[in-house]
Amino acid sequence: MTAPASEHTISRAGKYLSFFLDSEEYGVEILKVQEIIGMLPITRVPRVPHFVRGVINLRGKVISIVDLRAKFGMPSVDAVESCIIVVQLQGVHLGVLVDRVSEVKAIGIEEIADPPSFGTEVDTEFLLGIAKGAGRVTLLLDIDRVLTAAEVLDLKQLS
């Protein structure tokens, strides 16, 4: 894949909240994140895509929880450190279930490379890019793509 336009690269630079799924580190743009909450009892919702864990009560508001492991085809495990990242997408709140939240880090343009077309467990269309720094690789998620309503609906129809 050829290098994209420089504007695209610049727009990818910024602060990311990094978290883990298994041993892989992912990043999500900090501006999309509303809050991080600990694990709450999740109410299962029938007949929804498998990666929708269910719904929780977030201070009186019902929000749905997407299990990112299930979404990415990893086996579902409830780790001790599991937590929910609440993101806001197009005015809708959604919870993203991850294994462990790591840190907030600033990622510069020079660290970001385009995603390879294969080789990760994640479908590359969900990736903004890959950040390489301090000997670690962080997969920068395009969380909008991961969680768009359209996609959820598509999958619902398939299931």
């Binding site: 109410t43 029938p46 929780i56 009560n57 019902v62 768009t148 609906l153």
Partner: protein
């Protein structure tokens, strides 16, 4: 283009003038001689000096320039202060004819384009010349010149003003040449020939009028006519000229009316303009407030129709228009201000008993309130980025208002009514959906607005007997209520819900229940009481009375009855019945449909009614009341009732019912809810297209409500809607299925029981049924539908809940019942959209989310899963 027009022969010119008039005012037949201004009292003039109509000391009867004054004065809100103009008029008449003509000359020499007072003096002088000149062509030209001067006074910028003056100049030139050639030109004498003015005298006057207008402006005018960007302005000016010409020809006196109209036409182009420096928040407040006023005015107008002498109602309407006018003017919305001004003027004459409030006056006033509401919507849309559009009917309505308001009370009322009603049918046909559409818009707006606003409105509506009190009302409202954003209110309700849960968790805490610390127990109990009160209070904030909804229906009934040529009296009861804010908007739609149906199909025409021995006026009874945890709204008419035979015939025709099947009355009536079902022989404007009743039913059911019909042939029908008080709280049965808990709305459950094993059987090896009181019902297993592990699989060990309608009862298998709870209903959050079998979510006592089962959806789901086996089972049984 005016060159061409100017030299047209007389007849075509007049035709053009008429065409132009017709173009600008859809009242095609607007009479060119409505009233004689001389006989018209000068209603609009607020000049303390009445000498303007008195003969001057020279004994020359001053041709009443009241006409000019009146014509102009009505428009006072358009341009400059009315005081200056009145002064001018008085000033002129005080000094007599000769002064005016000299004055014109002097004034025009020093003509300042920006000086509107001077321009007005010139205009008045030109008008007088036009009126007094016997030469028709010259009179045309002079009238046109006067109009151009007026346009110059009202013109928005230098270019337009200069252009108008240049036009005036040209017309004057024309007039002069006419006067020169007409050797026999004489001065028309209104009293005696003492003025002795001759053509040369006029000639010199006109010369001096023309001279100050620079040639450059003539060039500018020519350029303007060529330039497409200016073509519109130019065209408008030309139209004005034609109007003025027609006016001048009929200088027996009706020109002020026309010139007024033409000015109104000129004013339309900027009828709705958002000022640049607008304060958006302020404007939104203004819009919301004005809506309240409009609603109040509408209610009062309807009340006025029943009791035209109700002074408080007149005042309410008057105040509404007055307030809107004032505030709109302050906001810089001259279009709205101007319109409200005319509406106000009309009402002020009603108040002063100069016009009787009836027929066209009532229609016009109501349409004026609609128009103001529409204009507000337009402004609001413009604020949200939409385009600012002057509603279609605006111009027509404006002129209708002006004419009615100008009309001589005693003499010309009949003529006005004739022309006004003509205009009504020709220019502005009543769109049966327009009020509906308006409601729709308002409804949307209502949703954006907050609860308090509705509270406001309620207060605004309540007409108070005491007039003084009424006048203070606006201030009082401001003190009594605060506008709160809807999101904040919802958030508050959410938070209180959470507080209740947190509180109950504390109350249930084992360390407290052990009773070791009694003091703490008392404190917690106290806190619990406060929290409960707080919850009640927040919940009540969501409740609003049905009154605004009923009020809109009252208006609808009035309009529809008129349209359908039926006499309908609407009786409302229980308007103060409260219902959840979110529901009040949704319940409006079905009611509109039902009212429409009742008037179009239900009630008979007066003749038909009399023929069967009923009173000519049909009664529509709208009744709201609380019944338990429900709100009931009944719509009762005393019309012909539902035609059972016709319904059945139509249903069999369409294959909805088997030919040999016998149906009970309620079953037969139920058929009218089928989509596309209509028994109407002809589709009318009002209804009969067969969309409607199915929408009604769907809407009501979406609110977890029910609709019933009772009807007796010849006696009338009653449609009863039964709705839950609020969608926010529901009584639910908490049930357990495996490890999951679900909520089933209590209203959906007929009964629950643990079945005897002997009553269970399997049909065709597929579907399971249970026999209860000689009735076979299919069993739906929730655990199977929802794929829940570890649930009770044997119905004899679980609980069956009987749900569904009389005809389609179904048993739902759950593990156990956990108890009945009042639950706060939430939508299923995020982007889950619609989940089949689940209607929503609720926060349970432990803070977790519980899903509310959608019984109907569940049954449909089960059907879909096992084909239509349950149906075949039932048929087999």
């Amino acid at each position: 283009m005016w060159h061409a027009l100017k030299y047209l022969p007389l007849e075509p010119t007049l035709q053009n003038a008429h065409a132009s008039l017709a173009r600008h005012q859809p009242f095609g037949q607007l009479p060119l001689s409505v009233t004689d201004p001389r006989s018209m009292p000068r209603k609009k003039s607020r000049t303390p000096d009445s000498s303007s109509t008195q003969p001057d000391d020279a004994g020359v009867p001053v041709p009443p320039d009241t006409a000019a004054g009146a014509g102009y004065d009505v428009d006072s809100s358009l341009a400059d202060s009315p005081a200056a103009r009145s002064d001018t008029a008085v000033d002129m008449s005080d000094h007599g004819e000769q002064f005016v003509i000299d004055d014109v000359a002097t004034l025009l020499v020093q003509l300042e384009v920006a000086d509107t007072t001077e321009l007005e003096r010139v205009r008045a002088a030109l008008m007088r010349l036009a009126r007094e000149t016997d030469d028709l062509d010259a009179a045309f030209a002079l009238g046109g010149a006067a109009t151009q001067v007026a346009a110059a006074a009202a013109g928005e910028d230098e270019v337009i003003r200069a252009a108008s003056l240049a036009r005036a100049n040209r017309l004057l030139e024309d007039a002069m040449s006419r006067l020169d050639s007409a050797a026999s030109a004489t001065v028309r004498s209104t009293g005696e020939a003492a003025s002795g003015r001759t053509v040369p005298a006029q000639r010199s006057t006109l010369d001096s009028v023309i001279s100050p207008l620079p040639d450059g402006e003539l060039d500018l005018m020519a350029a303007m006519a060529e330039d497409p960007a200016w073509a519109e302005v130019a065209e408008e000016l030309a139209a004005e000229e034609l109007v003025a010409q027609a006016v001048a020809m009929h200088r027996s006196g009706d020109w002020p009316v026309i010139s007024e109209d033409s000015r109104a036409v000129a004013a339309q182009s900027d009828a709705l303009v958002l000022p640049d420096d607008i304060d958006v928040d302020l404007l939104r407040d203004f819009i919301a407030e004005s809506r309240d006023w409009i609603d109040g005015a509408e209610a009062a107008l309807l009340a006025l129709e029943h009791d035209p002498d109700d002074e408080e109602s007149i005042n309410t309407v008057f105040r509404a228009f007055h307030t809107i006018k004032g505030t709109a003017g302050f906001m810089g919305l001259s279009g709205i201000s101007n319109f409200a001004h005319h509406a106000e003027s009309l009402l002020s004459r009603v108040r002063d008993r100069e016009i009787a409030f009836e027929g066209n006056c009532a229609n016009l006033s109501l349409r004026a309130t609609d128009m103001l509401a529409t204009m507000l919507v337009s402004v609001e849309e413009a604020l949200d980025g939409g385009s600012l559009e002057v509603p279609e009917e605006h111009d027509a309505l404006m002129q209708a208002l002006i004419r009615l308001e100008q009309g001589d009370v005693a003499g010309s009322l009949a003529a006005l009514e004739g022309s006004a009603s003509g205009s009504e049918h020709d220019a502005t046909p009543v769109d049966p959906r327009s009020s509906d559409r308006l409601q729709g818009e308002q409804r949307q707006d209502d949703q954006r607005q907050d609860d308090q606003r509705q509270g406001d409105r309620r207060q605004g509506d309540r007409r108070q007997g005491d007039r003084r009190q009424g006048e203070r009302r606006q201030d009082g409202d401001a003190e009594r209520s605060v506008r709160v954003r809807t999101e904040r209110l919802d958030r508050l309700i959410d938070m209180v819900g959470e507080l209740v849960i947190a509180q109950s968790m504390i109350s249930q805490d084992p360390s407290l229940l052990s009773g070791r610390d009694q003091v703490l127990g008392v404190k917690v109990a106290h806190a619990a009481k406060l929290v409960r009160d707080l919850q009640d209070l927040t919940m009540s904030m969501r409740m609003v009375p049905l009154k605004p909804t009923f009020q809109k229906l009252a208006r609808l009934v009035r309009d529809l009855a008129q349209k359908a040529g039926k006499q309908v009296e609407l009786v409302t009861e229980g308007e103060e019945t409260e219902i959840d804010r979110n529901m009040v908007d949704i319940v409006g739609d079905p009611l509109v449909h039902m009212v429409r149906n009742a008037i179009d199909h239900g009630l008979e025409t007066p003749a038909e009614r009399l023929a069967v021995g009923k009173s000519a006026t049909g009664t529509l009874r709208l009744r709201a009341y609380h019944a338990g945890a429900n709100v009931c709204v009944d719509l009762e008419d005393d019309g012909r009732g539902l035609n059972r035979t016709k319904i059945l015939d139509r249903a069999r025709e369409r294959g909805l019912v088997a030919n040999d099947k016998h149906l009970s009355d309620s079953e037969a009536f139920e058929l009218i809810f089928a989509p596309g079902f209509s028994t109407a022989d002809a589709v009318t404007d009002l209804s009969g297209r067969g969309v409607g009743m199915d929408v009604v039913k769907r809407n009501v059911e979406s609110l977890r409500g029910r609709i019933d019909i009772a009807s007796e042939a010849g006696q009338g029908s009653t449609f009863s809607i039964r709705l839950p008080l609020t969608l926010a709280i529901t009584d639910g049965m908490l049930v357990r299925v495996g490890g999951e808990r679900y909520i089933v709305p209590t209203t959906a459950i007929h009964m629950s029981f643990r079945p005897e094993r002997s009553t269970l059987s399997t049909v065709n090896g597929r579907g399971e049924v249970v026999l209860l009181r000689d009735e076979l019902m299919p069993i739906i297993r929730v655990h199977r539908l929802f794929d829940i592990q570890g649930a009770v699989a044997d119905p004899a060990e679980g609980i069956l809940m009987i749900v569904g309608d009389q005809e389609k009862r179904t048993a739902i298998l759950v593990d156990e019942l956990l108890g009945q709870h009042q639950l706060v209903v939430k939508s299923l959050g995020g982007n889950l959209g619609v989940v089949p079998g689940v209607s929503g979510a609720a926060i349970l006592g432990d803070g977790r989310v519980g899903l509310i089962l959608d019984v109907v959806g569940l049954v449909a789901l089960a059907r879909a899963r096992c084909g239509d086996s349950s149906d075949s089972e039932r048929n087999a049984a």
